[in-house]
Symmetry: C2
Subunit: 388 residues, 2 copies
Amino acid sequence: MLGNFRYSNPTKLYFGKDSLDNLKGELSAYGANILLVYGGGSIKKNGLYEDILRILSDCGKNVAEVSGVMPNPTVEKLYEGCKAAKEHQTDLILAVGGGSVCDYAKAVSVSAYCEEDPWEKYYLRMEDVDNRIIPVGCILTMVGTGSEMNGGAVITNHESKLKIGHVFGDNVFPKFSVLNPVYTFTLPKYQMTAGFYDIMSHILEQYFSGTDDNTSDYIAEGLLKSLIHSTRIAVKDPENYEARSNIMWIATWALNTLIAQGKSTDWMVHMIGQAVGAYTDATHGMTLSAVSMAYYRYICPYGLDKFRRFAVNVWEVNPEGKTAEAVAEEGLIRMESYMRDLGLVMNLSELGVTQEMLPGISEATFFMNGGYKALTREEVLKILQESI
Amino acid sequence: MLGNFRYSNPTKLYFGKDSLDNLKGELSAYGANILLVYGGGSIKKNGLYEDILRILSDCGKNVAEVSGVMPNPTVEKLYEGCKAAKEHQTDLILAVGGGSVCDYAKAVSVSAYCEEDPWEKYYLRMEDVDNRIIPVGCILTMVGTGSEMNGGAVITNHESKLKIGHVFGDNVFPKFSVLNPVYTFTLPKYQMTAGFYDIMSHILEQYFSGTDDNTSDYIAEGLLKSLIHSTRIAVKDPENYEARSNIMWIATWALNTLIAQGKSTDWMVHMIGQAVGAYTDATHGMTLSAVSMAYYRYICPYGLDKFRRFAVNVWEVNPEGKTAEAVAEEGLIRMESYMRDLGLVMNLSELGVTQEMLPGISEATFFMNGGYKALTREEVLKILQESI
C-alpha cells in the first residue's frame, strides 16, 4: 500500500432472505415523496413491486414512478428522470432492479438540480457535484455492477455513440441497499452469467496493475476463488441459495472501492466493452467476455509476474519446472475454459459486431493508463480484430 | 452467506505517509472543545504530539488532555476520562495511540453522559447505548486491534479481575481515523510482534466457525496470506514501509466486521487470553499466542474440514495422499513454526502465570459458543495446563 488514499463507504447493507423487512425502518429517515425507479417490469411479475408499494403505503409515502429504465440507461431517460424527480419534490429515489437501475438513480440524484446539461457537466467534463443531491436507496434484483455500494453511474448517449461512467464521491453512494439473493433467482441464464463475468472483470481490472506487494491483491484473489467456486455451482443450479448469496456479496465487494485501495487500476476491458456496448447495445457483461481473452493475452508479457501469480493463486496451476510464460498461459487457458463452461459470449461476432464497425468502436474507446500497458488506438483495433 | 445480516461501517480512513494532512479538514466538522487522549507519552518523543497540537491550535480548538491511558485501560481510568470529557464539554475525543487508546476513547464517548455506572450498564449488563455519544477520531500509532474502524472497547476491572469488551454499534465507530504506517516503525519489537499475532488471532477467531461455503472465509484467507508474507518481512526489517503498510491495512480489515458477515464466530482464544490478561496485565497479543496452539489442537477434530482447508489454502500444505488429520496437523505445525520465527510468547509461564493461577483464570474466562466446540470450564483449564 505505497500511496496515500482515503477510504470511505457509508452505504448500509441489509443482506439475506428477510432483508426487505428493514426497508420500513430506513424510510422513516426521509420525507414523504418517494420516486420509485425500475426497469422493464419483471418486478411486477414476481410480486416485489406489490410488496414495496405496500411498505411505502404503510409508511404514508407519496410515490411517483419512472419505469422502463433500460439496461444501458440513455441520456434522454436521464432527462426524463430529472424532470420527474423535480416535479415530485423527491425526498428519496428508491431504485428497484440491477446495476443499470441503481446507476440511473444515482445519475438522476446528482442531475435533477444541476443548472446546466448534466450530460455535459458530469459526463463529458467529469466535474465534481456542486448542486443538491437527492438521496438514493436500492433494492437489488440482479448482481454484477456493485452499483449498490459505490458512486458509479454509467449513461449512454446513442447520438454521439458514447457510454460514459462517472464515479461520484461517497455523498452520492446509496444511503442503503437491500440485498436479497432470492430476487436474483429468476433472471434468465444469459443475463445471469453476463453478470457473473462482469463481477470477475471488475476484480481483474483492479488486480492487473502494479508491481508492489499490496494486500488489496490478496483480497482480490480471495474474492476470485470464491466467485469461481460459486458461479460453477450457480450456473448448474441457479436456485442454490448458498452460491447465489456468495455471488451477490462478492459482486458488492468487487466494486465498492476496497480492492482498489493503494493501487492504480486498469479498466481497459471495460473501456473497450463499453465502446462495443455503445455500438451494439449488447449485454454489458458479454461485451467484456468477448474481448477479455484477446486483451489479457496481449498485455500478459507486460505484467508477466502478476499473470504468473494469477495462474498459481487463483487457477491453482502448479508452477514447478515451468517458465513464467508457460505458467501464465496455463492460467489464461483455465480462465478461458471456465468462461466457456459458464456459456459466456467469447467473440464479438455473436454480439452483432461486424468488421466494418471495428474502427468506429476503437475510435469510441476511452483510454486509461493504470494497467500494465498503455494501449494505442491501433492496439485496441488489433485486440478487437482478435476478438471478432 | 446463509443468514440475514446488516453491514454498515461509516468510519472514514485516511491512509499513508501524508495522512495527517487530512486532520484539519476533519476537525472543521466539530465544535471547539477537543479532548486529546493518549498513552505513556511516546508521542511526545517522536514529535507527533507537537504536530497535532499545532494543527489543533491552527484550527482554533480548546484542548483538554487525558494522558497515561494504559495498555489495558481500567475502569478507574474510564471514570477519570468521563469526568474530563464532561467538564470540558467535549465536542470531539481525539485518540492518539494504539488499540487501547482508541478503545478507551470509545468507552469514554458512550460513558461520559451515562446516568448510572457505565461499567455496570455497558460492561456487566452489556446494554445498548441510549445516552449522548461524543464523537471520536483516531490517530493510530500501533496496529493490531482494528479499534480504529470498529465499535469495540475493552475495559479491565482489576478489583473483580474482569477484562470485558463491549462491541458497540456503528454510531460509536470512530468518525475518522488517520493511519500512517510510519508511526508504527518505532514500536519495540515485543509490542510489534504481539500486535502482529493479535491481527492473526482476530482473523482466525472469525475463520474457525461454520460448515457452509462463505465468501468471508475466502477474504479471511487472503488477509492471512498477506499478513504472513508481510510480517515475515517486517520482523526482520521493521522500517520496511511496504510491509508495515500492508500490516496496518490488514489489521483494520481483520476486525472491522467484514470477515464476520454471515458467520458465527469463535473468540475463545480471546476469552481465555483476556482472562490471562486480567490476572497478569501481560501484553494482549502474547496472551493470545501463549494459548493458541493448545486451543487449536484441542478443537481441530471438531472442525477438521476447516483445519484441513486452512493448512492447504493458507499454509500451502500439499494434501496429496494424506489424511485430513495429517494435513490439518501439518498446517498447525507450520503455524507454530511461523509464530516461533516471529518471536511470540508460546507459553503462559513466560507471562508470569503459575499453576496456582490456572483455576482462577479458568473461572474468569467468559464463554462463547460460536466456534467448533462449546468448551466447558474443565476444558479451558486443560487448555491452560497445556499452555503453561
